[in-house]
Symmetry: C2
Subunit: 597 residues, 2 copies
């Protein structure tokens, strides 16, 4: 199981496939950070000390040639610069979450739309601030300004007040604060002029005439940093899973009478808790890379994000989905490692605290889910060149629902273990939820004359379900494509099992809905449950190959329970797991890839 | 909405009913701790400082006459001393979780069966240690010994090594450590002799002859401290919910065009996330009190816990259920308060970190679920005076399943909003899961000749489901009884709504299973979902009355977002909520209590 190098960084075909185009960059960066003493895991520092250390870490990182090149690429908009930045963000987060979060902001014109939670507020020299631009008493909507905050010696300029927000649950290295400006004067050149500029004569000019469209364009510019959060969450999941799975393959508890105790990974509940998360981490690997690719394509072709509604929907939805999955994954990793998981040496609890904020920052997740559905609606209405809401409502409400149902309802119960079946199921769910939502809102707004806010609010649970269904569908599709395109037969077979597990999990968790819609019979639903249990059992040894291919340096793993020695916590040490012999007659035999893929 | 006293402690009929027999004791203790400057919420101390402060807090608490009396009661086994201790533990936990956890151990003969995670290891003078008692080379099984660890000056005795485990996710005030004993000699009187003693001539005597039964009796003695964890988790839930609900009734976001933004409690997703947790907190209030009552009854009648299998099952299951509910509740409270909830000022994140360990300590939750089912099996087999496993397996496997199904299957879809229907549903689920589990294990062990461990392990997910189904059923029953017995009509009507919500939540979350078993039709299942949404909406204003009746002192609430002023974090302040006017024509009209109750 151990990779060739004792550092934890190896070179396998699976690693190259999982890390994709940037595998060698990631490997190099893992090696650099893993070998840097500054990145030794610390949890014994006070607030000032950890902030100072984070500052040192960021400084070290910014000095690395690979980072300098990435920033240069960003400035020059080199092809794929977003994707490259995203994987760098993931690797930084694995080494230290605060370093991954602080300042490494991709193409985000503004730190935050509010004046609160400004990262680096206590040290920064400049702040990017959103403010209403008022010219001759008339507001042109919010614009982004660069405001000098401190001089070279770190003293605040007159009119600027900074309040330290101090203690948070985690991310102690990030110094969030509040900036208050009182009659601060800045030259007109400090207005970031992508969406509007002021001429020397005081005249306002903007490439986007409509004020509301201008605001939307600015919000759309948040897209890359939202995707960055997904990569950071993914980094945290990989780290937590690697620790929990290594421990589960080493620690023994309970067993048959008068025999050696079994490894805890043998307990049905343990695989059931950990394996679906691992499958999800793999799924997120491929779908987030896909989103990065789309972003790069758009930028390369000079397209504004605001024109790309499906991409905005995907990124907003992925941000919500990945960060919730991360919270749930790390919680299970913590619980599956028992009291040991509660100790800071073993990293998982600290990681939980650091990443917990992801679900509410860069756009609260519940709001993100609404962004997804609004973007889907807008996209639809645009195709019909009519007014946004009304057209799509009417169009959807009037289209035949029966046709949809018949086309999807034909299935054979024997096929639930087939990727094509799982793909059809998640597709069906998304489309039914979409049509029924539109029908409900149409009825409330058009027939019952409710105001749009009330109608929307009464459907919020429905909106959230649709939004996640959309993301689930795209994610499963991307995972399936990745399986199909995998060049190595053995890797492909392994990914196939995890892909089936991921699809099975999606259908299993919504089986009530499928039963309500008679898409699953009670017997098929029971079969899905057994399939989930069997798949979890069947991949538990493959899991070691997967986490090894994540290529996380041992110094970043840190956890003694994952087999990393630590003289200060010898009591927590468990030896590194060994790759078990392949088992004969493993229960679940995954089918061949269907022609449909 | 605000209680009469500005301290946050009021005197309402609902408070008296929720706090039960000990309402005045709780009120007095809340008042004492709320008024003590030592209990001001601190999150800015280093490990040594917070440990020292916790020591001071514990010292203060132990000096209170009400605590002295409780300890005296415990020594004298006064009637209801367990229940009294449990509510004291809850109040302490609300003031400070570490104080609630440290040393306030009820009748637990040993701190821990292992040598790790020993609370107070770094300061204590004595340790209670489980060790194999070996007499003339023959083991008599583990026994509990009192071992002097440190002298009066705090220096370790020869042969004793103490290792500080240092940093954890939370509970920093509790100094967990490892004690290692090397040839430490203690006099034979230091053996706690409840389960066995050694005479001066070296002969061993025990009231329980069977070694395995002796071990079970010792484990059963953990029952009261497991129940204490439930009370502590309940305290944390009440605190988190009070903060999140007050904030949700104060903070405004989004709204109809050109109108004032609405309070976030108006958002459908917000009520859907918070109200079911509040209903669960109420349910846990009544069921945990019931468990405490049963414990006191047993002790009063001199019964050993080991003889009371249903009580052991209930307490082990409640420990798992309540601590998982707490984790999920606090996570939602954190997310529902956005970035504000991530700040330590607002208490929720610290509370999450402090209580996260509950799910794995005093017996890991997954193990607890197995204890429940084993206790249920043992109880059953005992009634039949046969060998434990075989008899009950045969008995259950052979009993008529059809009879059970017919007796429960008769229901009218119109009655899903009826408590009697919900009670029947959770009863049906428990009994079907129980019978099918026994049938599966019977088949594996008897027919397929699998060893018991493998058979059990292959059914672990089933075991977990049955275990929680059992706890859900008992909890809903106790909540229903509490509604029936409530003396105040208005309080009763309010509790009735929350009880319906709780039962609806239980059936909703398992609706896939009910659909698989054709206990719910697809239409009834959809109706359950709408009922859940409607109930959440209908209780959102009542929620203010409930959290006010929790009587949590404002100093313990601490959170500026809950309307508690704090000069150091003025930026986080939101005014305390006002009780909204009763709404006309609220959608959900709860039915009258059925005669069945």
């Amino acid at each position: 199981m151990e990779p060739a190098s004792p550092s934890g960084i190896g070179d396998t075909s699976l690693n190259r496939y999982l890390d994709g185009e940037f595998w060698s960059l990631k490997k190099e960066l893992h090696r650099l950070l893993g070998g840097c003493p500054l990145f030794r895991h610390r949890y014994d520092l006070n607030l000032d000390e950890i902030r100072a250390l984070t500052f040192q870490r960021v400084k070290f990182v910014m000095g690395l040639p690979v980072l300098k090149r990435a920033i240069q690429d960003q400035a020059e908009k080199t092809k794929n610069f977003v994707s490259r930045s995203l994987v760098i963000g993931e690797v930084l987060s694995i080494a230290d979450m605060a370093t991954g979060v602080k300042e490494f902001v991709i193409d985000t014109p503004c730190e935050n739309a509010e004046k609160m939670y400004i990262g680096n507020a206590m040290y920064g020299n400049y702040a990017a601030v959103f403010a209403q631009l008022i010219i001759n008493g008339r507001s042109q909507g919010p614009h982004c300004f660069i405001v000098p905050v401190r001089d070279e010696n770190g003293s605040l300029y007159p009119g600027v007040t900074a309040i330290d927000m101090m203690y948070k649950e985690g991310l102690h290295g990030v110094d969030n604060g509040i900036l208050i400006f009182h009659k601060v004067r800045i030259p007109r050149e400090n207005l970031l002029d992508k969406f509007g500029s002021v001429a020397p004569d005081g005249q306002y000019h903007s490439p986007i005439k409509n004020k509301s469209a201008r605001f939307n364009a600015m919000l759309a510019a948040l897209t890359p940093s939202r995707l960055a959060v997904t990569f950071q969450a993914l980094g945290a999941m990989k780290l937590g899973l690697t620790i929990a799975i290594r421990y589960s393959h080493s620690r023994r508890q309970f067993g048959p009478k008068a025999k050696e105790e079994v490894k805890i990974i043998e307990h049905q509940t343990q695989t059931l808790r950990l394996m679906p998360h691992l499958a999800t981490a793999l799924a997120l690997t491929f779908v987030s890379r896909y989103a990065g690719f789309l972003l790069d394509e758009d930028i390369f072709h000079g397209k504004e994000f605001v024109d790309s509604r499906p991409l905005q929907a995907l990124v907003a939805g992925l941000k919500a989905y990945s960060t919730w999955e991360n919270v749930s994954c790390l919680q299970d990793c913590r619980e599956c490692t028992g009291g040991m998981g509660y100790m800071m040496e073993n990293r998982i609890s600290g990681l939980k605290c650091d990443t917990d904020v992801f679900v509410t920052f860069e756009g609260d997740n519940v709001v993100m889910l609404q962004v997804v559905v609004r973007a889907l609606l807008a996209q639809y209405s645009k195709q019909h060149k009519e007014k946004p809401l009304v057209s799509c409502l009417r169009n959807w409400a009037e289209s035949g629902r029966d046709k949809l149902r018949t086309s999807f309802l034909a299935f054979n119960m024997d096929t639930v273990d087939n990727l094509a079946f799982l793909l059809k199921a998640v597709n069906f769910r998304e489309r039914v939820l979409q049509r029924s939502l539109v029908a409900r809102i149409y009825y409330k707004v058009m027939t019952k004359k409710e105001d749009f806010f009330s109608a929307w609010n009464a459907c919020l649970h429905h909106v959230a379900c649709l939004s996640l269904a959309h993301i689930h569908r795209v994610t499963l599709e991307q995972f399936c494509l990745a399986v199909r395109n995998c060049p190595d037969r053995e890797d492909q077979a392994l990914l196939m099992k995890f892909c089936l597990l991921y699809g099975t999990k999606l259908v299993f968790q919504e089986r009530a809905w499928y039963l309500e819609h008679k898409y699953l019979t009670p017997m098929a639903s029971t079969k899905i449950r057994n399939q989930l249990l069997d798949l979890c059992d069947s991949v538990k040894d493959d899991a070691l190959r997967v986490i090894s291919a994540f290529n996380i340096p041992h110094t970043s793993l840190h956890a003694p329970i994952a087999g990393i020695t630590n003289a200060q916590a010898a009591w927590a040490f468990y030896p590194a797991p060994l790759q078990p012999e392949p088992r004969e007659g493993a229960r679940f035999q995954p089918p061949k890839l269907g022609a449909k893929l």
